[in-house]
Symmetry: C2
DNA sequence: TCAAAAGTGTTAAATGTACACCCATGG
DNA sequence: CCATGGGTGTACATTTAACACTTTTGA
């Protein structure tokens, strides 16, 4: 019916019904907050290709291993953070350009992980060095990333920005208990814009399931001690926290 | 861990540092509207495994072919709709459970396509039959889908529902020019809830870039002729069209 | 003239925004 | 007693939701 069957002597394997096999990898965008700055874990590659360049942590999926399991395994290998301590992990997108790896065809499934208080990473395996660097630095273009990792990182940051608005993702940047102020600093760091403190406070408390009060108070800092909260059960926020866009007068 | 690694000598390749190779497929959730009902294209499988069961259209990615190109090729093969006529196509998620295909390890990258006025599909290739069926039927469980395709379809429908709210996706269900009423019927079909006509009308017109007026009017139907509009340039809607949730009094 | 759909007006309620102001703590 | 951040109050602007009402067509 189409020209297809005629025009296709094309890859004998395919005609025989056997699909080509490809390597499948997972790459991780691991986000955390360091001094009110949005940061990601980056690896300095110790082997070719892109030796000496910064890259996202990742590795190949093993036979019999699910994609999610591979992502969690890589997360633990690179950071020492196990599934329980990881605040949040979700699949981001899949990158499969035929040229994205100069060695051979590699399809990479990217995952986004949020980790509170990411420990100083250990270089190991194929990595010459491993560091938690500001996202702004990594995306500035001054430190070109290996492969298509700049696009992957960008997708991860965009996903995080979008999800703060309508999900409880922000709480995963915080330790188990946190002040409303700390939560606000997460929003301000990820969105890169200041928010009104009083209104933010009310909005968070009026969003059912977002946070739950504890009977503890913060201590030590300057100023009045603040109440500590824990993550509530809500996954989606209704109504969403709006990303304030200053209105034109 | 599973009986699988025992059955295989665990691919010596993997121990030598060479990653295992896997087949990579694309599967398509192709949504359209038929008589105000959200429908998806389904294929009745003519070959094992799952012979005789309904499945989503899809196929293996070829060597040297990008994922997106594979998705567009499958879309055209199964529906005759080329990239230009497809309203919208986007990557949805990747499904890679080791057991999802009983033959061998297949990682499937799912795509979501929206096509206005999907033509009656032609069965061909490995398909015994091809039909446009209501999503509600396919997800009801009465017609079990092959592989993990119920999960994929569900993810596609959920993505479409969510994106109607904050993107101009709904316009891609419509022909090139359409009335505001037709656009509203898209929202009502996908969300499964009625919307207030007058308020919807204003909201659409007040959302910059959502639709642009033409100088033509609809003809033929009963009632007053309506103005026709085209898709505007906006991708994201600001403010979003809210999914009306009847308020508890 | 009636039914059906298009489109405009109107109003009460809910929400968002900006900022004044009091509270509790450490220096 | 002052700086710092925590938290509440409040007034105003904006948005939303509900629905009455007018317009324009085909039957």
């Amino acid at each position: 019916m189409t020209n297809k069957s005629a025009a296709q002597p094309r890859r004998r394997a395919s005609r025989a019904g056997l699909p080509p096999r490809m390597a499948v990898a997972v790459d991780l965008v691991i986000l955390t907050l360091r001094e009110d700055t949005l940061c990601a874990l980056a690896i300095e590659r110790g082997i070719a290709p892109f030796r000496g360049r910064w890259a996202l942590p990742g590795g190949f999926v093993r036979a019999g291993e699910s994609l999610e399991a591979a992502a969690l395994r890589e997360l633990e290998e690179e950071t020492g953070v196990d599934a329980a301590r990881a605040g949040h992990i979700e699949q981001l997108a899949t990158f499969g350009d035929p040229q994205r790896d100069p060695r051979e065809r590699v399809v990479s499934v990217a995952y986004l992980a949020i980790v509170p208080d990411l420990p100083e990473p250990r270089a190991g395996g194929d990595a010459r060095d491993a560091r938690v660097l500001p996202v702004a630095t990594l995306l500035s273009g001054k430190v070109p990333l290996a492969f298509d990792h700049a696009r992957i990182l960008d997708a991860g940051v965009e996903r995080a920005r979008a999800k703060l608005e309508y999900s409880s993702l922000a709480t995963h940047f915080c330790a188990e208990s946190f002040t409303i102020h700390a939560l606000r600093r997460v929003y301000e760091a990820v969105w890169g814009a200041p928010l009104d403190g009083p209104n933010f406070h009310r909005k968070v408390l009026n969003t059912p399931g977002f946070v739950v009060e504890t009977d503890q108070m913060s201590s030590g800092g300057s100023g009045r001690p603040a109440r500590l909260y824990r993550r509530g059960g809500a996954i989606q926020l209704q109504p969403p926290l709006l990303r304030a866009e200053p209105r034109a007068p």
